[in-house]
Symmetry: C2
Subunit: 199 residues, 2 copies
């Protein structure tokens, strides 16, 4: 399609989105051009704005447009607790529970040596700097809320090891049977963990 | 997230893409901001360009940046045949077969009264104008290649009715058993059609 370079370029650009293959990218491009050109312009503007103005919070590493994000700046949060999560989406899930009032550190990923993701890529040194910060002796507990996948567990393990000799409590979210589930349909590993961690 | 309006706006804008819900939009936004800011800028540029320069071919209604698309301008194409398809993707599928050398008309949709898509929305009047064009008496056959769905069949039926009294051959792609398939796994409607259309 020599006369259609910009359509071709749009399809290629859409493929850079995660989970979007050739067919989806074509469908998206056709949809925008046929039914929603205004949407294409809005999306272009939003991409430009976000790529230019969003960066990492100096304290918790999450996405923010300010120097320090609103959660870290909130004087009502309990500064003795620091919850370590993998992504802003995980942080949002924690927030929705309404059960946590402390601060966060967002790794923006998880250790995955096979994919070339090492401690530095997920800001582990920044996390340790923050925990060791002697100007903030108020921190008493680090809650590891990385995912219960192989990479998430490894990440939690590495952080635990790094904090082993420090006078700080390191906890992990409880593993167990999800609320509302029937034992019959819960996988065996989960039941075994729930049995060990019974109270 | 009062300090994160442009991230929020980006997620909302990504949701305008077909098949993208809140979770996918968040994942896309996080991916672009964390791993591929260059991709975000490339996509923004491609969207702007395409929204500004891509329009419909004056002859076949497909997307093009020129006045007339390259297929319609190609002097090697057989001008006695006109193949009617629903989308540029369907046209591309026809082209890949290498079995068709005529021209196309791309409806850019299908009749769907329940969704408020009428004849005018899919350019049916433009198609009929083109077929009736007395300056182009060379056209002898209209091949209906709309999809074999309820809407595609309706669209084909409406076009057939509109051309009933004209001195022009109207054909439909053959329905039948797909190449390479085993009868045992083919649905009954397809087998019944293949039986009726046997040759």
């Amino acid at each position: 399609m020599a006369d259609n370079l910009s359509l071709e370029r749009l399809v290629q650009a859409l493929r850079r989105l995660p989970g979007v293959g050739v067919k989806s990218a074509q469908r998206m491009a056709f949809h925008l051009l046929q039914h929603d050109r205004e949407g294409a312009r809005v999306l272009a503007g939003a991409l430009q704005d976000a790529a230019g103005s969003v960066h990492h919070c100096a304290m918790c590493h999450t996405f923010t447009e300010a120097e320090i994000c609103s959660t870290c700046e909130d004087p009502a949060r309990d500064r003795s607790q620091l919850c370590v999560v993998e992504t802003p989406a995980d942080q949002a899930a924690m927030e929705r529970t309404g059960a946590y009032k402390g601060l966060y550190f967002v790794l923006m990923g998880k250790l995955s040596p096979l994919d070339g993701v090492g401690p530095r890529d997920i800001g582990l040194d920044k996390l340790l700097d923050r925990i060791m910060d002697t100007d903030a002796p108020v921190l008493r507990e680090v809650i590891l809320a990385t995912n219960f996948t192989a990479e998430g567990e490894t990440t939690a393990h590495v952080i635990t090891q790094a904090l082993r000799d420090r006078d700080i409590k390191v906890t992990r979210l409880a593993r167990g049977v999800p609320v509302g589930s029937e034992l019959e349909y819960v996988d065996l590993g989960t039941i075994a963990h729930a049995l060990v961690d019974r109270r």
